[in-house]
């Protein structure tokens, strides 16, 4: 199944894309998504452990399964304010 992943800030710069498509097979977790992103965008690999993944506007942990149609985003620790 294909997932769209929105990319922000330094993550977007490294992937050089606002949004990327990641193909994952079967039921999969955030950890699977991280692995696929790192493989597809090697520039993300060195910082992947620091990047955050959000699913439907909530922070997601690595063991969480990803539902089809979920809105996924990948970005660094926040620095607003």
């Amino acid at each position: 199944m294909d997932f769209q992943v929105k990319m922000f800030a330094r993550a977007r710069d490294l992937a050089d894309a606002d949004s990327v498509t990641v193909a994952l097979s079967g039921s999969c977790t955030i950890a699977d998504l991280r692995r696929a992103l790192s493989e597809q965008y090697p520039a993300l690999q060195p910082v992947m452990t620091n990047l955050l993944i959000a699913v439907d506007n909530q922070y997601a942990t690595d063991e969480m399964p990803i539902a089809p149609q979920a809105e996924i985003a990948c970005f660094p620790p926040v620095s607003g304010g």
Binding site: F8, A9, R10, D13, N57, E71, V78, S79, G80, G81
Partner: protein, 157 residues
């Protein structure tokens, strides 16, 4: 947890200059004896380095959702009459206001606590990022908790 929307809290992202007077007037009420307004402004010096200007970027849908969550968390912990959070996005010059948080409560202790909670949590969980434009020509995304800012590019190279 109470649903924040019933209170008409003012939660905004904006590309325009933040009008903190309008925000403050919006949270005044006869039920409050205390109002706290916090403004974050673009500071020139950070650990000896000089900032020229900043750029702020957000994941807007999630940023607004998280700001609403923070409003709800705050109302669950303190007797807040009204509150508002406005975050600026885009290009900011020195001294400009990046964020405004305003809270009114019956008593001042609660207003101070609620205001500090809102801005502390905003900086932890709301997906907004700041890019520093340093006076030495470098730019860098600021990523707290992942060490010092990582230079992205050298101006003119």
């Amino acid at each position: 947890m109470k649903n924040y929307t019933e209170f008409n809290d003012r939660i905004e992202l904006t590309d325009a200059l933040i009008d903190y007077t309008q925000l403050t007037e919006a949270i005044r009420t006869h039920q409050a004896g205390a109002i706290i307004l916090f403004l974050g402004t673009v500071r020139e010096m950070t650990q000896g380095r000089q900032t020229l200007c900043l750029d702020y970027e957000a994941y807007p849908e999630m940023a607004l959702a998280k700001m609403r969550e923070l409003a709800g968390e705050t109302r669950n912990q303190w007797p807040v009459e009204k509150l508002g959070i406005i975050h600026r996005l885009g290009h900011l010059e020195l001294g400009e206001i990046s964020v405004a948080v305003a809270v009114s409560c019956p008593h001042r202790k609660h207003a101070f606590e609620a205001g500090q909670y809102l801005i502390d949590r905003l900086k932890e969980v709301v997906p907004i990022w700041k890019k520093e434009n340093w006076s030495d020509g470098t730019t860098a995304w600021v990523h707290p908790g992942s060490g010092s800012p990582i230079p992205l590019q050298k101006g003119g190279t």
